[in-house]
């Protein structure tokens, strides 16, 4: 009963945590979420996990890039619909400062995940998740759950469950269009805007 109670009690905190990560209290369902204004974004929790080559990876390694962080599992049917999209995003947007990072929640570990990566020809980095990281991201009881993270490491959008390819593309390109705060280009743009205002 303990485990079940734990899981039953998990969904509400998960929803609350997702809402907090989104930086607001919107009543909109998760699927309708859009990229939040930068002032409302919260930092994506840092984590350290291993990839399929045994290399240690931290989220902060991706600072400066737009990241699509996808929690998935080999047994998750809807997740499989998204994987070809993510392969395409990785290929098309990689040179624009973008990366897909998959976090597998398979309990069987790499024995289950590695063959799947090969079979699906996944071209992006896949990490093996655990409950600790899942808790940092609100529990992630439902898969797929995907976090769109901006160049400053902040959560710009969250999608729980399967959403459309177009939704992801809109999120990603919207973040590409946003100026990087602290980046030389952003400063120049800000200075130009201030100058024009004068």
């Amino acid at each position: 009963m303990l485990k079940n109670s734990y899981r039953t009690g998990l969904l509400l905190p998960t929803a609350a945590a997702l809402a907090l990560l989104m930086g607001g209290c919107s009543q909109e369902p998760q699927k309708a979420s859009r990229v939040r204004p930068s002032s409302e974004r919260k930092p994506a929790p840092e984590f350290t996990l291993k990839d399929s080559d045994g290399k240690t990876v931290q989220l902060s390694d991706y600072r400066g890039k737009v990241v699509l962080l996808n929690f998935w599992a080999t047994w998750c049917g809807p997740c499989k619909i998204e994987i070809p999209w993510f392969i395409d995003f990785e290929r098309r947007f990689k040179d624009q400062g973008f990366a897909v990072v998959g976090i597998s929640m398979d309990e069987d570990g790499w024995n289950a995940v590695k063959p799947f990566i090969s079979e699906a020809e996944m071209n992006y980095r896949v990490l093996l998740g655990n409950d600790t990281v899942a808790q940092l991201y609100g529990g992630v009881d439902a898969l797929p759950t995907t976090f769109i993270i901006d160049r400053e490491g902040k959560v710009a959008a969250v999608h729980s469950g399967l959403v459309s390819r177009r939704t992801y593309e809109n999120d990603i390109t919207q973040l590409f269009d946003s100026p990087r705060s602290g980046a030389p280009g952003a400063d120049a743009g800000l200075r130009a805007a201030v100058s024009r205002a004068k």
Binding site: M1, K3, N4, R7, T8, L11, A73, T74, W75, C76, G77, P78, C79, K80, I81, M105, E107, A112, F116, V140, D141, A142, L143, P144, S160, G161, L162
Partner: protein
Amino acid sequence: MARLVLMLACAPLSVAQSSQLLTAVPPAKITVHRNEALEVRVTVQVKNGYHINSNKPNEDHLIPLRLKWEPGPLTAGEVVFPKPEERNYSFSQKPVSVFTGDVQVTTSFKVDAAAPAGPGIALGKLRYQACSEDTCYRPAVLEIRLPYQVE
């Protein structure tokens, strides 16, 4: 040895054991005798709009439905699941072997010759993995408590 099939037409709500997506309804209480063989049917109710993998999924990486009973005065034997449905989902190119709605799971038990007289509870663990059309939930365990009285 008499074999009993204990069915539950109208279970009191108090015996239902639930997660968000699943409810297990065992018999409210059964009376057993030493050395008796019996079958107990548990109704597993899957929430509308969701499915759980059957005990024999069509693909290796899918997580099957399992029911295991802990050792005790009632020793569990074979667990029999109904015939699964073969359903088509947008996320799978081939039909998926699933259960939806009410699922009757039957377990054969043997009451130990030395079972002490009086009340007890057989504890079962139902491991399942549930999905809807667009979301899957991490594997979970629902505990099933089966109260019995040894006479």
